[in-house]
Symmetry: C2
Subunit: 389 residues, 2 copies
């Protein structure tokens, strides 16, 4: 839990009177339901950046499910105290506030002394988790951001940039860190229609890997299957198909009897157990989500006689134990795939939090986003743009 | 399933008439319940060994639970056709028979051409799984056996030799292959009172590793705890203790807050889930049995946020993928620990299958062993000695 401090009313009065704001952030001062604890606040212009830091302006920011857990205080990922926003009011040690958001695309506005390799207008993404991306401006250490080697003029979209550091690295690293996959090898994944699932399909396809993709049966199944195949899916099956014994020999035909060497799981429970039985000897199972909220339950014999290894993957942890150079290379790699049309930006809705709206209005708008999200009203990725003029 | 061929009655008549036999084996010709399909047969003297092979005489052989699965045909470990016993009758391709037993101590009787480094009277153990150790004599390729660097004159007991290749390597390798454990590190295991569990305690203790050992609550618990501590157990707890919240802080005190880096599981189900929650960040869980017959069920968060990795261990698989040199080193290492008093032989019952007993009597005796085993009548390891005179 974060320290419980409410925003002082003086602060609210001071910064919500003007009709057009220049600087605004979506913040919280205590853990709880985002639709109750998030508040929009305006703040004075940032001072010039300290040495080895830059002032940035966010172009477009993402709302990720994990952000909700962080705001609720139930995630191991803790937010960073927003000490840059106002040194005497909220954001200082006496009035701790935290800016929401982990992922976003920003451009450099002003460069501090000693900063090398970064210039005004450069596009950057976050290297540090939960830095707080739901803001017009922030002051950040150069070590907390990574410069993108491309921008709009190269054909990189803002939506690409705003969704660069969570799902694409997850998909990329899960295909890289556990099994040394060669062209023609097979992998299987459940939740293939998830944001990460679609990225896995595209990255695997670009590497010449075959994917067996599992999805739920649904009304528009044919359409979904076609859309995944267009992304590069080799084969698509439903969980129900796996109950049919004939499916097993069908898969054998598809793979030419080749062992499936990697399984990616974001569901857990029975959907995972059924998938794991398709894996070959010595395969690796990598879990990165638990949509079913059911545990991973597997017969011990799969571990002993089939030599299965079961891992988890969390990009935040990967970032912690990998070097700056490796992270820069990863981002360069991913953004290059995006520019070359190999990785599509996720389908998304952009919600604009206008400069002319009051803090109260923006607060209401942002809280509604989260109650709508909780009710499953969004089927696409939610991106927010905090206007500064 | 093995080919279903019954022993020809002519064969039975031929070799069960003499009152004192020289060569006898416990064999089966079809899969099934060992107490129904095992048969004792006598066979003529082996011919002189072929080049690069030796004739051996078994001194003492072990009965392992996994042998039962092999005889039942439900194990991935398949037996080897006993083609050495009688080239014209059973054991030939027309009358396939399989000798039971995977583990045993033998001495070299006669050496074939081209054999180097092996002499008459040398003690050897099996390198190949399910070769068939329930026999007085066998002819084996030199690559299927490993010479022991010690024998009775060095203080190595026959019981040590007869139980050298299954449980001690399992315990040794589980402590070596998954985590680079340093002196003072902690591991936790369930089923600590099992044969492997006791070996883990002794090997860990000899390496200066701390063990937290979990056992079932029982009447003579204090006595059991003392006996495990005498073997070198650092701490012993019951599964019930883990339900008590105070236990957690007790463990923290014992470890000095140090993360437990390795968990060894031979139970599965809830006893395993409770144990895994004691593991530290980045720990490894190694499963080598499933006494509860329940699956391994773990919250996905343990994999994602705690970075747990779950493996299986099967010594047969280890042997398949490791070099001859590594296996010889392992056996040298283990037998040296035995000679130096660091590894006790398991408590055992020796059942003598006497040379003066008829095949029918021995058949009855061996079948009774297995029905008694199935009923849990043995609390100690069962070793069998097939007398040849």
């Amino acid at each position: 839990m974060l320290p419980r401090a409410s925003l002082p009313s003086a602060f609210k009065r001071r910064f919500s009177l003007s009709a057009v704001v220049a600087n605004r952030a979506v913040v919280y001062s205590k853990n709880g339901d985002p639709s109750e604890v998030l508040t929009a606040v305006t703040f004075p212009d940032l001072p010039p950046p300290k040495p080895n830091s830059v002032n940035i302006r966010f172009v477009l920011s993402a709302v990720n499910p994990a952000d909700i857990n962080t705001i609720e205080g139930v995630s191991p990922s803790k937010p960073t105290l927003a000490s840059d926003l106002n040194t005497s009011g909220p954001g200082s040690k006496d009035y701790p506030i935290f800016v929401g958001g982990n992922e976003g695309l920003a451009e450099v506005v002003e460069v501090g002394d000693g900063v090398q390799g970064l210039q005004k207008n450069d596009w950057v993404v976050m290297d540090k988790p939960q830095l707080g991306t739901w803001s017009t401006h922030r002051n950040v250490a150069v070590t907390d951001i990574i410069k993108l080697p491309f921008n709009a003029s190269d054909g990189l979209s803002k939506a690409h940039g705003a969704t660069m550091t969570v799902n694409p690295p997850t998909a990329f690293n899960m295909l890289k860190e556990f099994v040394d996959l060669k062209e023609g090898d097979w992998i299987v994944q459940n939740g293939a229609n998830s944001a990460v699932g679609k990225l896995v399909i595209q990255i695997a396809s670009s590497r010449g890997l075959n994917t067996l993709n599992l999805v739920r049966a649904r009304d528009n199944l044919e359409k979904l299957m076609r859309s995944l195949e267009e992304l590069g899916a080799t084969r698509v099956l439903t969980y129900d198909d796996l109950r049919d014994k004939a499916t097993r020999s069908k898969i054998q035909q598809w793979t030419g009897g080749k062992d499936i060497r990697l399984g990616l799981n974001c569901i857990g429970g029975e959907a995972n157990t059924a998938m794991v039985k398709l894996l070959g000897h010595g395969a690796h199972l990598v879990s990165y989500g638990a949509m079913s909220k059911q545990p991973i339950s597997l017969p011990t014999s799969l571990f002993i006689f089939k030599n299965l290894t079961s891992h988890g993957f969390w990009q935040t942890q990967w970032s912690k134990v990998h070097s700056r150079k490796e992270k820069e290379d990863l981002i360069a790699n991913l953004s290059s795939m995006m520019v070359n049309g190999k990785l599509k930006a996720p389908e998304h809705d952009i919600i604009v939090l206008g400069a002319k709206e009051s803090d109260e209005e923006v607060t209401q708008k942002i809280r509604t986003i989260f109650s709508d999200l909780a009710q499953g009203k969004y089927t696409k990725k939610v991106l927010i743009r905090l206007e500064d003029k």
